[in-house]
Amino acid sequence: MKSILKVKNLTMNFGGLRALHNLNISINKKEIAALIGPNGAGKTTFFNCITGIYKPSNGDILISPKGNNEKINGLKPNIITKKGLARTFQNIRLFTSMTALENIMVGCHCVTKAGVIGAILNNKSTKAEERLIIEKSYFILKELGLEIYVNELVTSLPYGAQKRLEIARALATEPFLLLLDEPAAGLNPQETNELDELILKIREQNDISILLIEHDMKLVMSLSDNIHVVDYGKKIGEGTPKEIRNNPAVIKAYLGEEVV
């Protein structure tokens, strides 16, 4: 298995607070990996470091979608997205004054290139590109079962649909690695089951790897090929769901003394 994302000794300090401490994570092609850990363990900080929202204090983040290692730490978020890392957010961050379709169309931004002049003249290539964007966006919308909301403003969508729309928007950037920050938070059991299938389907159809942060253990255990556990910014365990379930350090971090 070839790894497409390698994180080496990633450290992130906020002043005197060390949120991440020498974290090593590697993700393989077409793998669904999960990042779990108690609240405040640094999971979202890890995401923010990878996607360029924070600049890591130390360590390397390497991507190799085509076998060539490329260092991406310190790059701006938009450039990292362009390189093929797309993410969703823990608390929904959709573009609220736009419709569902337009949200996905924004996601197509980094794979298209019409400029100001093209927009004003509306020439052939711009028209073709615009058409392509619309078709692609609608296709993704359908893939995620959101086509009934095409022209709805996103604020009027139900919560579950908004969560899925965020995934759809991230998919529109054509990533090789999709980072999902708590995709199942706030969903009911049935919606969570649907999400399970959806994530598997996304991996198959788009041929991408997925890294997810999740608290819903049932989802994590059934879905992931590999689980990374962090606590207080340190990695305390890694392995298949079965290994993690029996890892004493993980059990201690999650359940504390009750187990003993």
């Binding site: 360029g52 959709l94 058409r131």
Partner: protein
């Protein structure tokens, strides 16, 4: 809330008002004769008046459409409806353009002149609409670009004898450059901080123009700016007014055309994304800095061209025409008309500039009415007179995959 409850609350409001106004409106002390005059009639008037106003207020609040929803209610609003129906849209446009073309022949020169000023504001409102309505960057120094345009025509003409038609695009380009220059240092700022910096920028430009005598002739300004000539022929005063009117109408049409194209393009969507959520916008691969600079530059360009036309119209400019007050008016046209909505901004600018002209009798109350209207707007129609409605994409349900139809609106 039930009606009974509403009436009860309104009644309490009127009691409260009667109590509040009691000392001023009811008791009148005559200090000469040392007698107190009780004007009970005033109290009854205040009571009844505030009661009915309160009922009206409550009624309007009930009817207020819900926030944040692109509802069918809004689409019922007839102006929006007209603009969505192609059958109505085209005849309306044709009639409107016919009316506009005949305007200087139907109305007097005075009216035409007023209309020219109003249309300059329409143009600037549409420019500012890009910056505020689409990209969500609160720019309080917008008038600076207007000044850049006006002064670039005046000075280039004074020193090099440049004619209007060359100065027009040049003024636009210079304003665009200034827009980018302003945009660069404020890339990191947002909201209130951005507003303060742009406010400062606007004042800097004005102060420089006022104090740099060698460059801009200071407060005395520049006079004898030539009006545009038509194919080298100097027209009569009436002729140039008409000519200017058509020029500004053309420019407004161009502005509408361009901003409409822009707002539904890849760039326009990036602007709106930037307005809605900066972090998510970057996570979508949008270059924040570039997008902001584009908005600043393209917004400023229209103000620059508006400035050139303004200089040509008045033939005299000085820094007093470019105070912060102008920025505020342009901002009001955008907010009042409806942020992001082109028809709204056009209507807002026309209302805001033309009404004070025709209601000169009430000029003393202008500021009061102005303020009251803005407050009422914020309460009842926070989206502006005509709210921006997002484009609707129609998909054929049968051949879904390959046939995409665009329904164009607003």
């Amino acid at each position: 809330m039930t009606i009974k409850n509403q009436i009860k609350k309104s009644f309490l409001v009127s009691l409260w008002f009667m109590f509040l106004t009691f000392p001023i409106l009811v008791i009148q002390v005559n200090t000469v004769e040392n007698v107190i005059k009780w004007r009970w009639l005033n109290m009854i008037g205040v009571g009844i008046g505030s009661f009915f106003l309160s009922i009206l207020w409550r009624y309007m609040l009930e009817k207020r459409p819900e926030k944040g929803k692109q509802t069918k209610k809004y689409q019922l609003f007839f102006l929006n409806n007209i603009l969505h129906e192609k059958k109505i849209f085209f005849p309306v446009i044709i009639l409107l353009s016919l009316f506009v073309l005949c305007f200087p022949y139907i109305f007097s020169m005075y009216q035409t002149n007023i209309m020219i000023s109003a249309l300059i504001y329409v143009m600037m409102g549409l420019g500012l609409n890009i910056v505020i309505g689409l990209a969500g960057l609160l720019d309080l120094g917008y008038v600076a670009f207007f000044a850049v345009g006006a002064y670039s025509y005046a000075l280039l003409n004074y020193h090099y004898g440049l004619i209007f038609w060359i100065a027009l695009p040049l003024g636009g380009i210079l304003a665009l450059i200034f827009g980018v220059i302003l945009g660069y240092p404020v890339l990191r700022l947002r909201g209130d901080y951005l507003a303060i910096v742009t406010l400062g920028f606007g004042e800097i430009i004005r102060l420089v123009l006022e104090n740099w005598n060698d460059f801009s002739f200071g407060p005395s300004g520049i006079s004898n700016i030539p009006k545009p000539c038509f194919l080298g022929i100097d027209l009569s005063l009436q002729g140039t007014t008409k000519y200017l009117f058509y020029i500004i109408v053309g420019m407004v049409a161009l502005t509408i055309f361009v901003t409409n194209r822009l707002q539904n393009s890849r760039i326009g969507r990036a602007w709106i994304a930037l307005k809605d959520d900066e972090i998510a916008c970057q996570a979508m691969g949008i270059n924040k800095g570039k997008t902001k600079l584009r908005a600043f530059g393209l917004g400023a360009m229209w103000a620059g061209m508006g400035g050139v036309i303004f200089a040509a119209k008045t033939t005299f400019i000085n820094p007093a025409s470019f105070t912060i007050w102008e920025s505020v008016i342009i901002l009001c046209t955008v907010v009042l008309g409806g942020m992001g909505s082109i028809t709204g901004v056009v209507l807002g600018a026309l209302l805001l500039i033309l009404l004070p002209e025709y209601l000169r009798a009430f000029s003393e109350f202008r500021m009061i009415i102005f303020g009251a209207v803005l407050v009422l707007m914020m309460v009842f129609r926070p989206g502006g007179i005509i709210k921006n409605v997002r484009r609707i994409y129609k998909f054929d349900p049968i051949l879904e995959k390959n046939s995409v139809k665009n329904e164009v609106n607003s």
